[in-house]
């Protein structure tokens, strides 16, 4: 009996032997750090012409962490009802110590996070890092993109200002054109037939509970998969001499340098360009001129604006929605469609397609800003 016990202790890096080495060793013996340490020690980052892009994922993660921290802080003062939401954000901006800073950082960091996420995604796309065996990493990444857009859309409404009010009316009306489930989906989003205080409360629930919960799971899988497969090397670098950098501490320290720069940038942006609050939403006022959604929805907004009312006998809107849904599905399933990349061959068709998509988004966003 005693022998068995001893053997068990030995197999989990016995506390007996660790006790001598202080608190660190004491914990190591009890929390199973050994496997994490082994993983960290083994992790390396390939060095080549495109290594710079490896920083974008970590940068997005850092900005996400900023979102979590500032979001929790805002939660302490924000009130999710049509009567109080606008006033509570006003209170945060004017009365709470550093409230302007926390809220402005939350808004700026949200926008920078979407930006780094897009850059991260397109570099992964163009380097074909989604190819076998990293299909699931790509799929979880695209799901994180959708979740981030949902975060952006739901968070935009929370200050309950008139721009956000009409953006939400438009945004939640769009799925209505889907035959069959459209009506149900619209009511599900709005919490009723119209955009009201019920919508605000619901979006608040999405923004601070449901989306964070789902994101935690998907992000956990995404990060686990990155560790499991290691960093992808671009196809062109496969044959060349393998040069690597240790992740810990070499790459992480460089990561942290980038994060510090991002933190300084956020503070500067928040101080120089505090996020505007606008005017309180009035459901019985006409939509204000110059209304537009956040920049990352501009290309789809502009597309809907340019589509004529009817194309043949189909409503232009429906065609737009079908098009964007098909595009999103395509994007999600890219690794399974790009058979050449899966075999380790160059796939110029997908590169060209990616360039066209980037051009389309850039041109439409540009038109959206100028018009």
């Amino acid at each position: 009996m005693k022998a068995t016990e001893e053997r068990q202790e030995g197999s989990v890096q016995g506390p007996g032997q660790a006790e001598s080495g202080g608190v660190g060793d004491w914990l190591r013996g009890r929390l199973g750090f050994a496997s994490v340490e082994a993983l960290v020690a083994k992790k390396t980052v390939p060095l080549h012409r495109h290594s710079i892009w490896y920083y974008l994922g970590g940068m997005t993660l850092f900005l996400f962490t900023i979102q979590v921290v500032t979001g929790i802080l805002l939660l302490l003062y924000y009130r999710p009802s049509a009567e109080e939401a606008f006033e509570s954000v006003q209170f945060i901006m004017t009365d709470v110590s550093f409230g302007w800073l926390v809220r402005s950082i939350h808004s700026w960091s949200a926008n920078l996070m979407i930006a780094t996420l897009f850059v991260h995604m397109f570099t992964v796309y163009f380097l074909k890092a989604y190819r076998k065996p990293r299909e699931c990493t790509w799929v979880t990444g695209v799901l994180l993109l959708f979740l981030s857009l949902a975060f952006g859309f739901s968070g935009y409404l929370l200050p309950w200002n008139s721009l956000a009010f009409f953006a939400t009316r438009v945004g939640t009306e769009i799925p209505r054109v889907i035959p069959g489930v459209g009506e149900f989906f619209m009511r599900f989003l709005r919490g009723g037939d119209e955009v009201t205080g019920a919508t605000l409360t619901r979006f608040f629930g999405f923004h601070v509970a449901i989306l964070p919960a789902v994101t935690t799971v998907v992000l956990g899988i995404h990060i686990w998969l990155v560790q499991f497969h290691g960093m992808s090397r671009p196809l062109r670098e496969e044959g060349t001499e393998r040069r690597e950098m240790k992740f810990f501490p070499n790459f992480l320290l460089r990561d942290i340098m980038g994060w510090l720069v991002a933190l300084a940038l956020l503070a500067a942006l928040a101080a120089l360009f505090p996020w505007e609050l606008g005017e309180k939403a009035d459901p019985f006022a006409p939509a204000p001129a110059g209304i537009r959604p956040e920049w990352f929805f501009l290309f789809s907004f502009e597309t809907l604006k340019l589509l004529p009312a009817h194309i043949l006998f189909i409503e232009g809107e429906l065609l737009g929605v079908v098009g964007f849904t098909a595009g999103a599905m395509f994007w999600l399933l890219v690794p399974f469609l790009d058979r050449k990349a899966a075999r380790g061959e160059p796939s110029p068709a997908f590169t060209v397609l990616g360039i066209l998509i980037v051009l389309y988004m850039a041109v439409m966003t540009g038109i959206g800003f100028l018009s």
């Binding site: 009409f166 438009v170 459901p283 006409p286 939509a287 204000p288 009312a309 809107e317």
Partner: protein, 147 residues
Amino acid sequence: MRSTNETSSRRRFVNYLLQTSIGAVAVSVFYPVLSFLTPPRIAESAEATVVAGKITEIAPNTGKIFKFGSKAGLLIRTPSGELKAFSATCTHLDCTVQYRGDLQGIWCACHDGHYDLNGRNVAGPPPRPLDQYVVNLRGDEIIVSRG
């Protein structure tokens, strides 16, 4: 041989029971949750007429938004002095339209939709005309009713 068959068919039966029970538990959990997420229908206000304002308040070539139950309506006075009322909800994507004196027409700011003085969609993405209401005068009060 026979006993193996018997065991495997028993096992299949037990598995079947287990899986259907898990399915039943899942349904009994998800059905209430999904129903909870679907907002209840609130009866529309049955108001058929509303006082939209006074004739003295509205000059020719202007418009104003009025409350029609829970929705917004748009009352306009054309350059020739005629009164008209429409639903203020753009038929494209649910924004609230406004009267533009400089365009002598109704305009939606969200996606640049244009309607003429009869509420007909004349430019931009709106797929249908605005719903029109009936306007009557009672003294100097403007009464709007559903057609």
